[in-house]
């Protein structure tokens, strides 16, 4: 991977971290609210279905989390193991793609 591409990964990691700082806080607050008020699954779905704001929020949240996890896993594996090169980059990209597909599927499931 070129220094240019690696520098982009670093910017992506920083930018997604900034998004996640807000998104995780909102997500946790929502979970705590739902648990404390005893909302049922049906009640949660009633709030999210057809709500473009929650859909948008979770699409962005999932995108940030998927990118952040892939870039972070690549960095951790490079530091903790001898694994390097295109196979590692490809595996990290697959991890990101998997999280993205699963996450977006769940987000769309809450909306539709």
């Amino acid at each position: 991977m070129t220094a240019r591409a690696e520098a982009w990964l670093w910017i992506v990691q920083r930018a997604t971290a900034a998004v996640l700082a807000v998104a995780v806080a909102v997500h946790l607050a929502t979970i705590i609210y739902a648990v404390h008020t005893g909302l049922s699954a049906a009640a949660v779905l009633a709030r999210t279905q057809g709500n473009p704001w929650w859909l948008g929020f979770y699409l962005v949240f999932v995108l940030a989390a998927a990118l952040h996890a892939g870039v972070g896993l690549r960095t951790i594996l490079r530091e903790m193991t001898p694994w390097r090169g295109p196979s590692l980059d490809g595996a990290a990209a697959c991890a990101s793609l998997f999280l993205l597909i699963m996450g977006w599927r769940a987000a769309i499931g809450l909306f539709a």
């Binding site: 991977m1 520098a7 982009w8």
Partner: protein, 238 residues
């Protein structure tokens, strides 16, 4: 103050063991004094490296009781623990013999980080004017007192994990040149210090800052390089 110090010294190369020596304590004794005493009075086969003895040349760094230090300016009193000293070669570098490491990789990384001044293609018409209070001059001044001792490099976790990582000293050097308004090599330099082996690998653990005998801030320099490379990237200049 009139006792002896129990000194364990690494003997051998990559494979070796600690050997114990008993060295008389003296007033204002430095760790380098202890090593010199051992070589001159107890064991002439001990290898170590030093030159200036006054903290300028950067050749006498060793691991003293587990911590990388410049031994000529380290008083035994400040680091001795229960009258014991353990001296090993610097970490993260191959051992040649005893307390001497091979610093080739360390200095090659200065070259890889484009640590040499690059003049403009044509000579300038006049002297460059560099106001002492300018941001660039202050940033360069903060980093230029490096003596190349390798203490930061030996203390860096990222160097230990990733042998390709350029390390704090080479990146600090690159940062001083990025801030040299006369230098014409910054486009290439920023490309050389970006990425997995460069400034973006730094975890900001700040061990280099903690251990630097000259009280420099390589982590700050590396953060500067991250900003500079990000700006260059977004401008399409990387």
């Amino acid at each position: 103050m009139s006792g002896t110090i129990d000194v364990s010294v690494w003997r051998g190369g990559a494979e070796g063991s600690l050997r114990r020596y008993s060295v008389p304590e003296q007033e204002s004794q430095t760790v380098l004094d202890v090593v010199t005493y051992i070589q001159r009075h107890l064991d002439p086969t001990l290898s170590y490296r030093f030159a200036c003895r006054v903290g300028m040349c950067g050749s006498c760094a060793m691991t003293v009781n587990g911590v990388a230090r410049w031994t000529c300016r380290t008083h035994v009193r400040k680091v001795v623990s229960r009258e014991r000293l353990e001296l090993r070669p610097l970490a993260n570098l191959p051992v040649i013999k005893d307390l001497v490491t091979d610093m080739t990789a360390f200095f090659e990384k200065w070259t890889r980080a484009k640590g040499a001044f690059v003049p403009a293609a044509s000579p300038p018409a006049d002297f460059a004017k560099v106001p002492p209070a300018s941001r660039e001059r202050e940033a360069a001044s903060a980093g230029i007192e490096c003596i190349g001792c390798g203490v930061c490099y030996a203390s860096c976790d990222v160097v230990a994990w990733n042998p390709d990582y350029l390390g704090p000293a080479a990146l600090n050097r690159a940062w001083t040149l990025v801030n040299d308004v006369r230098d014409a090599g910054n486009r290439e330099r920023l490309g050389a210090v970006a990425g997995d082996a460069g400034c973006h690998a730094c975890h900001s653990h700040r061990s280099c800052v903690e251990r630097c005998p000259k009280a420099l801030d390589p982590t700050g320099s590396i953060a500067g390089l991250k900003r500079a490379t990000a700006r260059a990237l977004l401008r399409g200049e990387l």
